[in-house]
């Protein structure tokens, strides 16, 4: 298969005492007598700081092609997915044979345990044998960052990046007028005078290409077009004021904005009068405005004034959100929770806020105040629409520029090198903006170090001979790691940007793409071992997502829950990798059933990977029925990493669902793939 060495290392990670007792080194060697080129060696002591270096040396000295880690679970293992071999610019692939709970301590069940362990180890060896060598390449990165925005978040990020020695291009827009906290002039001056910062006023982003370390950006300013080559892009566009009067029904100079009130309180030049702050006037209050309101009310009361805050909700924002409430309450700020919007009665002599307290619905209250304070209504900037398009990033239901996929929070995105801070992805006040800016600076420094970065090459293997240039892969890549080149429209795969989810592989109709770590042949061989020597009860194969389901499985085992014995897990980087071809291969090879354990909707690290396979399984069920094969043989279940208990129940129930016996005949399969192949695409 590969020109590389065929020799495979078998590392015994026997931190589990039951496992080491059951499976001594010599027993393992004799068990795998028929396998060629196996080199068994025990794991070094993990308390030794150089343990990984020693494994690396053993690999190099013995010219090992790859390493099978024979241990309790990948989660508890000390060895990462691949071990870099420094002086050869390549790395040793690592496959975990996860023994998990299959170690039985009772004597009469040990035979059964050993049988299962042997199968798991052989599956790992089969998977490893077909793998391509991992080459490591060095790449140049642009230590320049484009920051887009004109408020706290943008300036804080620009300052932090410039202070860390990166070169910054700030595409500065006008600060939002309605923002509760005025932008600090000192901060603006500091950024403008920094030697590392170039400011482009009113620039808009027209086009973005490339990936982390090497983005190509086209900007247009009122006077000219600019082409930049940057290593990272930070979107820090702030919230936008939604135009309109503060209170549509009341036109009175005693009604002021929260921003103005805040300025007066901060400068201590307002009257010490009685104010009423009205929250929830429009479509629900901004969290950060509520925090500001409480903070300003507190200052006002401290300065001798009186303040009450009227609202339907009392939202808590930020790390010290609740603390502000407590301070305000003890200082005498009154909080009034109302059911409906309060009615304002105003004449030249008086200003009344009439309302019904939620606790006393039958009673009507009227409060006489000197001034009414209303926060301006804020929402996501209109610019986010075009930025989302250019950056190929989805927006959430409210229109903010970050997916609902919480894994990327607080500031990252599915595209490495693209960051979101401040009001572009959430409501934000200056303290929060500063924290987020710092988080971005930390991540940018690690992604764009000085000198070259080392990445694994050929994460996805591309065969131009089979490529029809349909661009399915480009459209389906959630991480922006595939681009057609400008001349021939051949695909360019950007290794630093690739997360190796394998979605592109699964949607390629020409089979031009192969996953660099998990080629189809590897899966095929693994399934072959998994389903070999069929006895009465055929095994069920479960493709489990490494981000979610695998963690839940390990958690279940660590909690002492047991999993169905006939179930064999094949871990995949993302459920999106599991194509029809793979599903059908498992059935054809004799699996009783095939299960895909993906992530919940909107919870997939690769955005739509799980959804893709979920709909794929649904479609396949129909095809199987048409061929007279029981559709129950394939199923998809979403599982989150923290759902260990649910998973165990789910697996036990699923085992009863699968029909007994083998899947389908080879003849049936040929017919099926011919049909399925025509329709495989990313919908």
């Amino acid at each position: 298969m590969s020109t590389h060495s065929e020799k495979i290392g078998l590392l015994l990670e026997t931190c589990d005492s039951a496992l080491s007792k059951l499976l001594p080194e010599d027993k393992l060697v004799s068990m795998l007598e028929d396998e060629k080129g196996i080199f068994v060696f025990p794991a070094p002591s993990w308390t030794d700081g150089d343990a990984v270096a020693r494994i690396r040396n053993t690999c190099r000295e013995n010219d090992l092609h790859g390493l099978v880690i024979c241990g309790p679970s990948p989660e508890s293992s000390q060895v990462s997915d691949w071990i870099e071999v420094q002086d050869r610019d390549e790395a040793v692939a690592v496959v975990h044979a996860a023994i998990r709970d299959h170690v039985s301590v009772s004597d009469d069940e040990q035979g059964k345990s050993l049988e299962k362990i042997e199968r798991l180890v052989r599956m790992a060896i089969a998977r490893l044998r077909g793998s391509s060598p991992i080459n490591v390449v060095e790449k140049e990165v642009q230590r320049k960052v484009l920051v887009i925005g004109g408020n706290h978040a943008a300036f804080e990020t620009a300052r932090g990046l410039a202070a860390s020695g990166l070169s910054v291009v700030l595409a500065e827009s006008k600060p939002t007028s309605g923002c509760v906290y005025p932008l600090s002039e000192d901060l603006v001056r500091e950024v403008h005078s920094s030697r590392n910062v170039e400011v482009l006023k009113d620039a808009s982003v027209e086009y973005v290409d490339g990936g982390v370390g090497d983005f190509r950006v086209e900007l247009s300013t009122p006077s000219a077009r600019r082409y930049l080559n940057t290593g990272a892009i930070v979107v820090a566009v702030d919230l936008e004021t939604i135009d309109g009067p503060l209170l549509p029904t009341v036109d009175d100079e005693r009604v002021i904005s929260l921003r103005r009130f805040g300025q007066q309180v901060t400068a201590k030049d307002g009257p010490s009068d009685s104010v009423c702050i009205l929250l929830d006037q429009k479509d629900g209050e901004r969290l950060c405005a509520a925090k500001a309101a409480v903070g300003f009310a507190l200052e006002h009361v401290k300065a001798g004034g009186k303040a009450s805050i009227v609202g339907r909700h009392m939202p808590v924002y930020g790390t010290q959100g609740q603390e502000v409430y407590d301070q305000a309450r003890s200082a005498g700020v009154r909080f009034l929770r109302v059911e409906d919007a309060p009615v304002i009665e105003h004449s030249t002599h008086c200003l009344n806020v009439s309302f019904t307290d939620t606790v006393l619905p039958e009673k009507h209250f009227s409060l006489q105040v000197d001034r009414i304070v209303v926060p301006a209504s804020m929402g996501p900037s209109k610019r986010l629409g075009s930025l989302a398009h250019v950056l190929r990033q989805p927006r959430d239901l409210m229109g903010y520029l970050q997916s609902g996929n919480v894994r990327h929070r607080p500031v990252g995105s599915p595209r490495r090198g693209i960051f979101f801070v401040g009001g572009c992805h959430d409501q934000c006040d200056p303290s929060q903006a500063a924290m987020e800016a710092q988080a971005v600076v930390d991540q940018v420094i690690s992604q764009l170090p000085e000198g070259k970065i080392r990445v694994a090459a050929e994460k996805i293997i591309y065969d131009t001979g089979h490529c029809a240039r349909c661009l399915n892969c480009v459209r389906s890549c959630p991480h922006g790691a595939i681009h057609p080149d400008e001349e021939g429209h051949w695909m360019q795969l950007l290794d630093p940007a690739c997360w190796q989810c394998g979605i592109c592989v699964s949607v390629c109709p020409g089979l031009a793409l192969q996953h660099g770590r998990l080629r189809f042949d590897q899966i095929h061989q693994t399934l072959h071992v998994a389903t070999a020597d069929l006895n009465q009860s055929a095994p069920v194969v479960a493709f489990a997502c490494r981000q979610g389901a695998i963690r839940a499985i390990d958690e279940a085992v660590s909690q002492g829950l047991s999993l169905p014995d006939e179930l064999l897990f094949v871990d995949v980087p993302c459920a999106g990798l599991v194509s029809d071809r793979i599903l059908l291969d498992a059935i054809e090879q004799g699996a009783r059933g095939v299960m895909v354990l993906g992530c919940h909707h909107d919870n997939c690290r690769s955005m739509w990977g799980s959804d893709l396979t979920s709909s794929r399984v649904d479609a396949l069920k129909n095809k199987l029925s048409e061929l007279g094969v029981d559709a129950k043989r394939v199923c998809f279940h979403p599982v989150a990493a923290n759902e260990a208990f649910r998973l165990v129940h789910l697996l036990n129930d699923a085992m009863d669902e699968f029909p007994q016996g083998r899947g389908i005949s080879p003849a049936g399969r040929r017919e099926l793939t011919a049909e399925a192949g025509q329709e495989v695409s990313h919908g």
Binding site: S274, E345, D357, L360, Q368
Partner: protein, 410 residues
């Protein structure tokens, strides 16, 4: 200008009398502005649901400047100030104290029921039942003679200076339950301590606190302190009364009274003497199934105010004097009021009391007890009222009665 405005200014709300009083008293009270309207107070209030008023509404009304509604409402006299509300309040709002304060704002002639009349008697005569000193001493003498038939050696002095214990008595005893006096005499006699029965200011209750008459509350306390100090006595043995004990300790704190003697609840004394072996008892004389009702004032409210409570000691005494003790649930500081607390027993809101009492009845029914030990005269009478009204098989009993019945004299 103010007339044109229907609205109320915050400064005006701040100067309202009840609010003012509560803020001035802040050392005793967490300001009600801390209220988060979570509603825990209301959810634990046994009176909640009886009328449209509840503890949370009371707090909000005072906060929003509608305190007159609170002062005029029947709720403040239906409330038994059991303070389950204050106990669960996450922000430490002292709702019971607020109720007492609101009662004090009521004109005296508009206090419902008999609590103000009782307080007035206490002030003028020195006890609640209008007993003249000679009538009192006659009753004491009579009961002493009766007790001597059982225990011939029993004798004690009246107004003896330099005694160790000044014994207070609930005036209902000489008036309605004179036989109970014998029990108390026997216990004190058996303990062998130096004790004396006062001829005046022996009242062991304080209805002025119930009616909200702060002035009389303070007056009666000072009179009693004066009397004890005149006699130079070290300890005041407070009778089995919840509110009297609480009113005494809380009143000392509230009015800045610093007595030269120590107040000890009788239940604490029983337990002490049992531990010291001064009292010899035979539990087989009390074979019935007995449960314990924790009076709010000496359990929850004592705990909340840092006063010595009797919760452990009453259980200890019961474990020694009866054979078959069963806990009520919830108990100790989570117990429900007997339904007669806070003056509710004589405030005239019988319907509210029975509504509230249903909770107590269920609690007692679940224990399957024959006797409900209530170390508080008020609780005792309220539970008796419930048993009669709802024809229940159980009846209340004082701890002194169980203890005296079990006493073994050599």
């Amino acid at each position: 200008m103010a007339n044109e405005c229907a609205g109320r200014a915050l400064s005006e709300i701040d100067s309202l009398p009840l609010r003012r009083a509560l803020v001035d008293e802040a050392a005793w009270l967490a300001d009600l502005d801390y209220c988060m309207t979570c509603g825990k107070c209301t959810s634990v209030c046994p009176l909640h649901g009886y009328s449209s008023m509840d503890p949370r509404k009371i707090v909000r009304l005072v906060m929003l400047g509608e305190e007159q509604d609170v002062i005029d409402s029947d709720f403040i006299y239906q409330c038994t100030t059991c303070e389950r509300c204050s106990y669960v309040c996450p922000m430490g709002v002292k709702i019971g104290n607020m109720i007492t304060r609101a009662r004090s704002m009521r004109p005296r002639d508009q206090v419902p029921g008999g609590s103000q009349k009782t307080a007035d008697l206490h002030r003028s005569v020195g006890n609640n039942m209008n007993l003249k000193t000679e009538d009192w001493l006659e009753t004491v003498d009579w009961m002493k003679e009766e007790a001597q038939e059982d225990v011939p050696s029993l004798d004690f002095p009246i107004d003896e200076p330099g005694s160790d214990y000044f014994v207070t008595i609930n005036s209902k005893l000489p008036q309605y339950y004179p036989l109970d006096l014998q029990c108390i005499f026997k216990i004190f006699h058996a303990s062998g301590v130096k004790w004396t029965m006062p001829s005046t200011w022996w009242e062991g209750t304080n209805y002025a606190m119930f009616s909200g008459d702060l002035d009389t509350w303070e007056f009666t306390l000072r009179k009693q302190v004066e009397r004890v100090e005149e006699l130079g006595i070290k300890y005041m043995a407070y009778t089995e009364c919840g509110h009297g004990y609480f009113a005494t300790l809380a009143g000392y704190k509230k009015f800045g009274i610093k007595p030269k003697f120590q107040v000890i609840h009788k239940v604490n004394l029983y337990a002490k003497w049992l531990r010291e072996g001064k009292l010899k008892v035979d539990p087989s004389r009390n074979p019935q199934r007995v449960t314990l009702h924790d009076p709010c004032n000496v359990s929850r409210k004592a705990v909340m105010n840092g006063f010595p409570d009797i919760m452990d000691d009453s259980r200890y005494v019961l474990s020694k004097v009866c054979e078959n003790f069963v806990e009520m649930w919830p108990n100790r500081e989570h117990n429900y009021c007997c339904s007669g607390g806070g003056g509710a027993l004589i405030s005239g809101f019988a319907k509210a009391r029975n509504y509230y009492g249903q909770v107590k009845i269920d609690q007692i029914d679940r224990t399957g007890a024959d006797l409900v030990c209530a170390p508080c005269v008020n609780c005792h009478d309220a539970i008796e009222g419930l048993a009669t009204e709802f024809e229940k098989p159980w009846k209340p009993i004082h701890l002194w009665a169980l203890l005296a019945n079990a006493l073994v004299f050599d």
